[in-house]
Symmetry: C2
Subunit: 182 residues, 2 copies
């Protein structure tokens, strides 16, 4: 073969990484196959050597992103560690750079409109994170509530126009969560 066996893996990996960034920043449906391939220096036609459709790429992005995003949020016992984790999540840096942040606030609506297989992937990763937090918090209910609140705070903050109000939203959620888990 004219290309090494590893080359395909590397190209696919680059495509996944680059497409995930693009999707979190601008939305998945708004960027075409041609644009996704150009972003890694290839032509649009080459896409179909790696995925049989654009939807299949989205499923792979969701799988990859959730396993990475949510793994970074897992915590091994200790509320101080969880609090530090939340401070990082609820930061202006996270609001301003969706492309390098958690996939859930950025792709939530598009995942919701995807087919069952994608939503099952999402569910299994989200449940895994919830169980992890529930261990530390000693409450399933509180773990779900905090998880929802974190994602909601980012969605809300990103919709706003004024950095100061954005900061207020983030700080409010952080403060109230700390109060809850104290």
């Amino acid at each position: 073969m004219r290309y090494s066996a590893n080359h395909k893996l590397e190209t696919k990996e680059k495509l996944l990484q680059s497409s995930a960034v693009s999707a979190k920043k601008s939305g998945f449906s708004t960027v075409g196959v041609d644009g996704l391939m150009k972003a890694i220096g290839l032509s649009g036609g080459a896409f179909y050597s790696h995925f049989s459709s654009k939807d299949e790429l989205f499923a792979s992005i969701v799988e990859r992103e959730l396993s990475q995003s949510l793994a970074r949020l897992e915590v091994d016992q200790g509320r101080e560690r969880l609090e530090r984790c939340l401070k990082h999540y609820l930061s202006m840096a996270h609001v301003e750079t969706p492309e390098s942040g958690c996939a859930l606030p950025a792709l939530g609506a598009e995942i919701a409109r995807s087919d069952l297989m994608v939503r099952q992937q999402a569910e299994s990763w989200i449940c895994r994170l919830q169980k992890n937090w529930a261990l530390t918090l000693e409450s399933d209910s509180l773990a779900w509530a905090i998880l929802s609140q974190c994602i909601g705070a980012l969605v809300v903050a990103r919709m706003l126009a004024t950095p100061e109000v954005q900061r207020t939203v983030l700080k409010s959620s952080y403060d109230e969560i700390c109060r809850q888990i104290a």
Copy 2:
């Protein structure tokens, strides 16, 4: 004129209503001008007698939806009334019918990617709701936190595959919010 003065207003109103439903259900960017017009029984070309671009329509949808969605959430003092409001918001019916629900969980990501004017509109309405809740809750911080949590719970629930897990997410947020405001 061959059409009454009122006819234009009525058509525009029908277009706004129908497009808002479509946007909340399927996303705004995924439906074309032609589809939006066909949904109210008109041809695509007639669109530009009402809006100069598709983006202008989106701005109008956001304005209209937020003024309506958020007005329904305003509450005049009394935590029981707020609790009933939240129970309604955090319901499976709301998860399953985004087209008739709140615009924030459904359009959040698209609003976030819109230009400044749209985000300013969003901010002013969201701040108004926050101030209203803060009056009842006697806490600005708690009002922001609960607002974020409600939106987040809907975003999360809609991403999931299993109704039972969806119900758990909703109930957890409801329970924890009630605990906070008790």
